[in-house]
Symmetry: C2
Subunit: 190 residues, 2 copies
């Protein structure tokens, strides 16, 4: 009876360990360093155990991404809540978004550039992803003007995403970063 309960608990715990190990390893050394062998060594189990929890490496990355969605949503919500004005909120939330991407590049990649087996523009979007998007939408609502809010939000999001990815891959010079962000925010706040 309680034995089964304990085993399920241990199993859930181990699943968390896997995701945590993947996350930490990715943050420290990038996703190319996250191999199933290293992951297995990290949790002190053999490789095949991973596959009794996840369909494959992509699914593990997806799990890390889902964690990231929650973090990002929280960061955006905090930035919006503490903003002095609706206009300032746009700038603050944008800055929070960029800061998140810069501080956790590997997680950002898992969320928005790599793993594709996550549902996005469908019904079954991960709740925390929807929450983050909603935060963004509420933030820009006052400046959306006549544009459809969802479309407007997606476009603003794309701008942020473009800045983040181009800069981190070295396509944009590091300086000027704040200026570009300011231009983006300004153009979407008029």
């Amino acid at each position: 009876m309680s034995t089964q309960g304990r085993r399920e608990r241990e199993r859930a715990e181990r699943e968390r360990d896997i995701v945590t190990a993947a996350r930490d390893l990715a943050l420290a050394e990038g996703w190319e360093a996250v191999t199933t062998r290293r992951l297995a060594a990290e949790i002190e189990y053999s490789q095949p155990v991973l596959y009794s929890h996840f369909k494959g490496k992509d699914a593990i990355m997806a799990a890390v991404a889902v964690e990231g969605f929650a973090e990002l949503a929280n960061a955006l919500a905090a930035a919006r809540a503490s903003a002095a004005s609706p206009r300032q909120a746009v700038a603050d939330v944008a800055a929070a978004y960029v800061a998140f991407a810069e501080q956790r590049p590997a997680i950002y990649d898992a969320m928005f550039t790599l793993a594709v087996d996550l549902p996005f523009a469908t019904q079954e979007v991960p709740p925390d992803l929807a929450r983050g998007f909603a935060e963004l939408a509420e933030t820009v609502r006052p400046v959306a003007g006549n544009d459809d809010l969802e479309t407007f939000t997606e476009t603003f999001w794309s701008g942020l995403h473009g800045l983040v990815t181009l800069m981190r891959s070295g396509r944009l010079r590091r300086p000027g970063h704040d200026h570009r962000l300011a231009v983006l925010v300004d153009r979407f706040s008029r």
Copy 2:
């Protein structure tokens, strides 16, 4: 005398074959299908031959990317030249950029998401890349207002890049695509 000339010619030809094969294969089946073995089979030489031309697979991808820069620059130039007005030019060039990315996703990836061993924000930017950027800059000059032109261009570029990447990875719904592009262009044309 002429023997050496012939060999150099053949060698150059073979190098072109490699890049072409890589490009075609990537376009047809994506970069994950482009392996050094398949590439070698395609050009009907053995694998190690590739390494006498390029430092590695990344260098081959970089060569494909450089070809892409020329194509993109041409497409942007054509769109700008045939635009009815400066304002319309912004929309047309943006549409041309997006169309390029959609029609040649693999090449776009090599140019802007994958290969990193290309110089970007330095002195030795590939000429065709600089040309493409210059086209973009000239296009948006009339609408840049007081913003620094280079910064403004980079930001607009980021917006386009964000739209392109998020949509192709399934993060944005396919419909709405034209609307989002319209919003972006509108916001950067005011």
